[in-house]
């Protein structure tokens, strides 16, 4: 056999993993890995832009992802130090240093989700508050459907957004009982929220400071709960001489 023939025999097929690696590196596919969460095992997907989705690791999540995002999904390690940031972000319920990919959402939805991500752990805000924060006070319903389509629950904490009447409302990741579960895990007492909602309490005021807050705001909770005043509307709080908290901005 000639040396030329022997050289041409040295080539072969494409080794495993290269086409998947290219698809991930170009952003034509997303990678995924499995993590444990308060709701059990979850699948987190990521690409060159950031974390793109989070779903319960139940049967068929690969198909659900492909249907929803139109990209393929491969099991992969997350890039650089995201592997450490993902569990931290899930536990904190905010992205923190973890970049998120919200390209699948409209600019409005992206803004709503980014603001939802600023709600502190252990606190909740009504849909109407989020609508005001994005300067679309009439868009509470649109905010609600944005939460329902949140691609990255747990990390973007839509479980901290509740109905404007104070009831917990729906939850996209497995149903309302999971919202209850997550809020309990964060130290919120959901039963207390329901009780306040049933008494139509929207905000609470601290007579010592003259400031009214959302009932779960850390400012009002730090005041000691024994002497807070319940109000059924912000107007009622204002006419009683209270002013709005600058931290939770109850409107």
């Amino acid at each position: 056999m000639s040396i030329e023939d022997r050289l041409s025999g040295l080539a072969g097929g494409l080794p495993d993993g290269i086409s998947e690696g290219v698809a991930l590196g170009t952003g034509l596919a997303d990678g995924y890995d499995l993590y444990s969460s308060p709701l059990g095992e979850v699948v987190v997907t990521f690409n060159i832009e950031g974390v793109s989705s989070l779903d319960l690791a139940t049967k068929g999540y690969e198909t659900r992802f492909a249907d929803r995002h139109g990209r393929r999904l491969f099991r992969a390690d997350p890039p650089t130090d995201w592997g450490r940031h993902i569990p931290e972000a899930m536990e904190a319920g905010t992205p923190g240093r973890l970049p998120v990919d919200l390209r699948s959402r409209t600019p409005f939805e992206g803004r709503v989700l980014q603001i939802a991500a600023t709600i502190p752990r252990g606190e909740v805000r009504p849909y109407g508050w989020l609508a005001r924060e994005v300067e679309k006070p009439g868009a509470a319903r649109a905010v609600g459907s944005t939460m329902a389509r949140n691609p990255i629950p747990l990390i973007i904490p839509c479980h901290r957004v509740v109905r404007s009447d104070g009831h917990l409302g729906e939850y996209s990741l497995g149903g309302p009982h999971n919202k209850w579960e997550l809020l309990t895990h964060e130290g919120v007492e959901p039963a207390r929220l329901v009780e306040l909602a049933e008494h139509h309490v929207r905000v609470q005021g601290d007579p010592a400071t003259g400031v009214y807050c959302h009932p779960t705001c850390h400012v009002i909770r730090a005041s000691g709960q024994w002497n807070v005043v319940d109000f059924t509307s912000t107007a009622a709080a204002q006419s009683a001489g209270f002013r709005a908290c600058e931290v939770c901005r109850p409107g």
Partner: protein, 172 residues
């Protein structure tokens, strides 16, 4: 424009996987013979395609018209390879981190003898011989990929093969 280039110009995202299937084996095995290491050849192949994808995203019709895929991909690959040889500490890429995607070495161990033989060639000769006979590029394509005149490429191949023959005679 060949069919694949025309398809890339029409639908980059939809066609790119076909480009990888098509050009990937040649790139990987060529790079494998140039660097002698599976993991490195795999990384360089992936990085070549990732850079190619980003570049093609900015191509207009005229650039696609004059694009010759194989030599162009090899221009990228050889540049990456040269920089790689210069500094072995490259920044970690997305794909390098993926332990689930790293594959076992696809090559039988006895082939490693070729890397020893090829390492006796100058880098220009080694590149010309590998691109011509392992990858199967034409002289004009190699000239375009390496930026060296066709006559020089031919001489490199000729001298490289001569050298390999002598090395192999000494083995027996």
């Amino acid at each position: 424009m060949d069919d694949l280039t025309a398809a890339l110009a029409r639908d980059l995202d939809g066609t790119f996987p076909a480009l990888v299937e098509n050009a990937g084996p040649g790139l990987y095995w060529g790079l494998r013979r140039l660097c002698g290491d599976h993991q490195e050849a795999q990384d360089l192949t992936q990085e070549t395609f990732i850079r190619a994808y980003r570049a093609l995203g900015g191509f207009d019709r005229a650039r696609f018209e004059e694009l010759r895929l194989s030599p162009w991909l090899w221009t990228i690959a050889l540049n990456l390879g040269r920089n790689h040889l210069r500094s072995r500490s490259r920044r970690p890429t997305f794909v390098q981190m993926s332990e689930y995607l790293s594959s076992d070495d696809p090559e039988p161990p006895d082939t490693a003898a070729w890397d020893t033989r090829l390492s006796t060639l100058s880098m220009n000769q080694r590149t010309a011989v590998v691109l011509r006979h392992v990858v199967g590029l034409g002289i004009a394509e190699i000239s375009e990929a390496t930026g060296r005149p066709e006559g020089t490429v031919k001489a490199d191949i000729h001298r490289g093969l001569d050298r390999l023959k002598r090395v192999m005679e000494q083995e027996t």
